[in-house]
């Protein structure tokens, strides 16, 4: 009797295993651990910065303009999204016309048309509209600040007016998303309910939301761009702020993909057969510096010396190779890089010579104070990195002190400007920076007429040539011409050593060997539709 019993049990176990593996083979699930502590806002304009746009923006939604995320080698560029084409009026450069894509449907089956655009812009910018949503309005305001008005011309044509001529508008529109008005009506006009069952037009549809725990997206088989219908059936997003937890969960097989694994975990992950994916993207780890009366950085020789004092290769080693040495704000090879003559190399001798010319030496060092944070989005490993820079500076005769504060406090200090009373005595701020659009990357950082908080000029950098290039770039509606002017501007600010630029993050991700088909674009957002589990 006994052997037979054993056979039966074994058969049952095998059947069960076969059944369960059959179930997983049917549905392809991709499980991603995000660094955020909460699922980004799902209603349309995501929270959580770049990570929100990446996982809850371009997944569930589309902009009028989308990012082309298909290339590993080239910087991500814009492409038509919910608008098939756009143009700016010849007579009035503030008037834009957008021709909308026909036949696009929201996830709830309702149609996308000019009314949807007007309704969504009202949702973000018209405070007295019934659908106005404070949470989304806040998240979108970084991108809609330039928009003055909007109106429907016909069912598939929309006119947008900007406050001033602004050639950068399409970049901003890539981050403004459209949710279904019919769905909002159906759910009792309650955005909190919409959060659990939103309807966008994107390649993924939100199926389940458990706040602070998970969001489950399923593929949209009717997505308007057939080339971007997801290859996976389900995408599970898990907020996991602790880096070690993310790594452990990947190694334990609970997830397939982790964002930003810590550098010291990379060897272990590799030895377990995990893929480490990296690529350049629009990120820079700099000191934004002060040009106020009390700042040694007013002297270009000190700025150049500081830039030459840093052993960037050494810093890259410190980061386990997960960064590249900076040659300016923009990565080399990017269309906006240009041709700077000032080479950001490691040359302590030249740095000391320049400092001596400016009246400083290791015995009589230039004294500076910089605001840093122990952690934060894009800040990489700020404490060891800043200590590293401090040592480099000390070698050449710059004595740097830190004021350490938490990430949000630091951001507050940046928004206040170097001239704010709380920033008195500060000569720099270590706020990692993005250059995903010309405004944030170059125009609003370099123009003297773009001070914080509406612009990004923290330290009162003031340079007539930079101002002139910014003004011209804002009026350059031809993308080629705009790129040319941006490259010229970048060349100029590098030659002026406008900031101290250290390294570009390589945006590492770790994935199980089963994850196939991912192309890491040079962008803050990524396309998950070609990703497949094997």
């Amino acid at each position: 009797m006994r052997p037979r019993w054993k056979t039966v049990t074994a058969a049952a176990v095998l059947a069960l295993l076969a059944h369960s593996s059959g179930a997983t083979a049917q549905e392809k699930v991709l499980r991603v651990a995000m660094t955020a502590a909460d699922v980004p806002l799902t209603t349309g304009q995501p929270s959580q910065g770049g990570e929100g746009l990446r996982f809850m923006g371009v997944t569930v939604y589309d902009g009028l303009v989308n990012w082309d995320l298909s290339s590993f080698e080239k910087a991500a560029v814009l492409k038509p999204g919910l608008a098939e084409s756009w143009s700016v009026s010849d007579s009035d450069k503030t008037v834009w016309t957008f021709k909308l894509r026909r036949g696009v449907k929201f996830h709830d089956g309702s149609d996308f048309n000019a009314d949807s655009v007007v309704w969504n812009f009202d949702k973000l910018m018209k405070r007295d509209s019934p659908q106005f949503d404070q949470a989304q309005s806040i998240q979108g305001s970084q991108y809609y600040g330039t928009i003055a008005s909007w109106r429907k011309i016909d069912d598939f044509t929309v006119e947008i007016k900007t406050k001033k001529p602004d050639s950068v508008l399409p970049y901003n529109l890539a981050n403004l998303y459209f949710s279904s008005s019919a769905n909002w009506e159906k759910l009792g006009k309650d955005w909190n309910k919409v959060a659990f069952s939103p309807a966008g037009t994107g390649p993924w549809m939100l199926k389940t939301l458990v706040p602070r725990e998970r969001a489950e997206l399923v593929k949209n088989p009717n997505y308007w761009d057939p080339k971007r219908i997801p290859k996976s059936d389900r995408l599970v997003l898990l907020p996991m702020p602790d880096a070690n937890t993310r790594v452990a969960a990947l190694l334990a097989g609970q997830i397939d993909w982790v964002e930003a694994p810590p550098p010291d975990a990379i060897p272990r992950l590799k030895s377990q057969g995990m893929q480490i994916v990296t690529n350049q993207y629009p990120h820079i780890w700099p000191y934004q510096i002060s040009y106020l009366e009390d700042s040694p950085f007013r002297d270009i020789r000190v700025r150049k010396a500081a830039n030459l004092a840093i052993d960037r290769e050494g810093m890259v080693k410190l980061l386990g190779g997960l960064a590249t040495p900076a040659k300016g704000m923009i990565t080399k090879g990017h269309p906006w890089f240009g041709n700077p003559t000032f080479d950001l190399r490691y040359d302590p001798k030249e740095a000391m010579r320049l400092l001596a010319e400016a009246g400083y030496s290791p015995s009589k060092p230039a004294k500076i104070k910089v605001i840093i944070s122990p952690a934060g989005s894009g800040q990489m490993q700020p404490l060891p990195m800043n200590e590293f820079v401090k040592e480099n500076f000390r070698d050449v005769g710059i004595d740097m002190e830190f004021e350490v504060m938490d990430w949000e406090a630091l951001r507050g200090r940046r928004r206040a400007g170097a001239w704010a009373p709380e920033n008195k005595g500060m000569h720099g701020i270590n706020n990692s920076w993005a250059f995903w659009d010309p405004d944030i990357g170059l125009l609003k950082t370099a123009a003297s007429f773009e001070p914080v908080p509406t612009g990004f000029n923290w330290g009162r950098y003031s340079d007539p040539k930079a101002d002139d290039l910014v003004t011209r770039a804002k009026l350059a509606f031809d993308p080629e011409e705009q790129n040319k002017l941006l490259a010229e501007l970048h060349t100029h600010i590098v030659d002026q050593a406008m900031w101290i630029w250290m390294v570009h993050d390589l945006n590492p991700r770790a994935m199980s060997p089963k994850v196939k088909g991912f192309v890491q674009a040079q962008s803050w957002v990524q396309d998950l539709t070609p990703v497949e589990m094997q």
Binding site: D38, A135, S141, A195, R212, P241, N244, T245, A252, E408
Partner: protein, 317 residues
Amino acid sequence: MLLYLLRRILYTLPIAIGVSMVCFALIHLAPGDPLSAVIPEGASPEVIAQIKTAYGFDQPLPIQYLNWIWRAVQGDFGMSIMTRRPVLSEVGPAVVNTMILAVAAVTLGFGLGVGLGIAAGYTAGSPIDRVVTAISVSGVSVPHYWLGMVLIVIFAVNLGVLPAMGMGAQGSATFALDWVSLRHLILPAIAMSVIPAGIIARSVRGTVIEVLKQDYVQTLHAKGLPGRRVFVHVVKNAAPTVLAIMGLQLAQLLGGSILVETVFSWPGTGFLLNTAIFTRDLPILQGTILVLAMFFVAINLMVDLLQSVLDPRIKRA
């Protein structure tokens, strides 16, 4: 008894007000802007002012406090800054999730602590006592988040027998009393239980030694009562002291552990507080801390009542 209960409940009122004031003041003392995490890049002063008004942060602090406490009394703890969801709808599920973890950790920690403590107390001075003391000292001294990481590395990463994080295959929504869910509970519960186990073992040991020295125990032995029955008397007499410590430990566990819950991505109050601290979500912070403080007060009250039931000598006049 009823009067005593009423009076004790009334006592909690000033405590609640005190706690709410302290947590409100402390949070606002932190440098930086409470709305920093939601103010977008490039927002104009007008937009920032609008946001401040929308969240009620344009009012003077005392008015903000009064507004908040007045709404809290009515059961409205405000909205999360980050998600715009009602605070109660965020804190509620988190408390339940932490409770699940706390109950598991309590069962483990108290069982282990009492067992070890009694063994050590009965064998005071023996090698068993020394071993137990060593174990309980390490239990108290080991950082529990570190232990959590070590457990993850051993059992999830290297052996692959238990999950590294989360509260179930599909998160807390599908948590049930089945093996799939309970597997997720084992490692965080062990990590959470070591400190209470250590503390309880030490205090049980001390109390047992003390009770054993009492005259009546000698008398019971002298009268020929079997050791088993004497043991019951010892436990009964040691209980009130141990209970007080247990109550405090339970309250602490219910508060969740920011570190352990973060290490295991356990969606409880600790995890919630961690998120709220980093995003400066003041309404969530205030609401969670107040709810937790009330738990503390309620558990202390329950311990007091239980003590008087167990030991009629403790009079509650």
